[in-house]
């Protein structure tokens, strides 16, 4: 099992692995927003939490189709399904590898990019907290979407359409926690809801993803 995680991380780090894809997209969005809305620091401060969350979500979405598509193309997926690993474990590890290469760098980069958007200092901790709690859910839900669309040539559009509605609750509670934090209000309630969503998806969706993979590979 660990070998699969190590391989996925190693593949992501090597040339063409797409490690920096999500991170650079996130950077581009956050850098361009101030140019688009104009030099108004007060406005930046009030939209910063939402923009950072939206950027992180779209950056996550960008790399989803790589989760299974590459393994499907070169035949590895067929071989993994017949290997002595539980398929639920395989999809969980794929989601974990996706989070480690996409979600975690976003969480770590967010406080630096928050400065660019003039996020109030009080909002930095809730922003990191909400991203750290919410991005695992994005990876797990995305893995489910990727399992649904594996085998479809250029299924990226379909994948985005399927996954985006499922991302909405995560975005609502994540951005709400970050916004409340930035405005100095109590942010525990949305953060708890977000944690609940993440725990629920991690507990249930790997079974759904594995079942879907078995059907799509037939």
């Amino acid at each position: 099992m660990i070998a699969l995680l190590v391989r996925d991380l190693r593949l992501a780090m090597r040339a063409g692995g797409g490690f920096g894809l999500g991170l650079s997209f996130f950077l581009i969005v956050v850098v361009l927003v101030p140019f688009a809305v104009g030099p108004r620091p007060d406005l930046h401060a009030s939209i910063a939490a939402g923009i950072l969350w939206l950027g992180a979500l779209l950056a996550c979405l960008l790399s989803l189709d790589r989760i299974f598509a590459l393994d499907w193309e070169d035949g590895s997926l067929d071989l993994l399904v017949t290997a002595p690993l539980p398929l639920e474990g395989v999809v969980s590890l794929k989601a974990l590898a996706h989070w480690l290469t996409t979600g975690l760098p976003l969480v770590l980069a967010a406080p630096v990019l928050a400065v660019l958007l003039n996020l109030p200092t009080a909002g930095v901790v809730p922003l990191i907290g909400s991203l750290a709690l919410g991005t695992p859910a994005l990876s797990v839900i995305g893995t489910f979407g990727a399992a649904l669309t594996v085998g479809i040539k250029r299924g990226g559009l379909l994948l985005s359409l399927l996954v985006l509605p499922l991302y909405v609750p995560v975005l609502i509670f994540g951005a709400e926690a970050a916004r409340r934090g930035a405005e100095g209000q109590d942010y525990m309630t949305p953060l708890m809801m977000l944690a609940g969503i993440t725990c629920g998806t991690i507990a249930l969706l790997p079974f759904a993803s594995a079942a879907v993979l078995r059907v799509t590979l037939r």
């Binding site: 699969l4 391989r7 593949l11 193309e73 035949g75 067929d78 017949t82 002595p84």
Partner: protein, 205 residues
């Protein structure tokens, strides 16, 4: 570890392609499947490998004893030959890859990225994967595609060693690889008659 299939019907895209196929594969034996393109050799092999279930009939023998090698080799171009093999060995709970490298003359290439290999070398790497899995029943789909004569001999030798160790092999192949001990199963008589399906999927076909 023997493999038995009783009267199985296999389907591709929801349509039956082969029906009434029965076969018995005992340890130390090999069966070569023959038949024209499109008759369903790949579908039959995928069914026996456990990637899909047969429409009818049953397959006996532990699914955990089989290992499948299809048209695609499951090789990551950015990993080296050694890393690719070590990964598959680890997945199957093993660690020794040197015997597999030797059997297919891959030692000189072990440190090279798999993306830089030729088609025949990639295929040799894909076949070497069979050896690191340690599973007794090989299910192979066109194993000799893009191999030169020398590599075909290499493969035949690997199969012979595998059979001598009590393993078995079921393979689809168009060429004669000099495995005289293998039984030949011609699939042409098993071609499925065109029959209407009576299930929900029918509406979408």
């Amino acid at each position: 570890m023997s493999l038995q299939a009783y009267d199985i019907t296999v389907a591709r895209g929801g349509i039956a392609v082969l029906e009434g196929v029965s076969l018995t594969l005992k340890p130390g034996k090999a069966i070569v499947l023959r038949g024209p393109n499109g008759i369903g050799k790949t579908t039959l092999l995928r069914t026996i490998a456990g990637l899909q279930s047969p429409l009818r009939g049953r397959i006996e023998g532990a699914a955990e004893s089989r290992v499948y090698a299809g048209h695609a080799d499951g090789i990551k171009p950015t990993l080296t030959v050694g890393e690719n093999l070590a990964f598959w060995a680890a997945v199957f709970g093993r660690s020794n890859i040197s015997a597999a490298l030797t059997a297919f003359h891959l030692e000189p290439l072990a440190a090279r990225p798999a993306g830089a290999l030729s088609a025949g070398q990639k295929r040799r790497l894909g076949l070497a994967r069979l050896l690191v899995t340690g599973r007794p029943v090989w299910v192979l789909d066109e194993p000799t595609v893009s191999l030169d004569l020398q590599a075909v001999d290499m493969f035949a030798a690997a199969v012979r060693v595998h059979l001598a160790q009590g393993g078995s092999a079921l393979m689809a192949s168009h060429i004669d690889m000099g495995l005289d001990e293998a039984d030949v199963l011609d699939l042409a008589p098993y071609r499925a008659r065109a029959t209407a399906l009576h299930d929900f999927d029918e509406a979408f076909l």
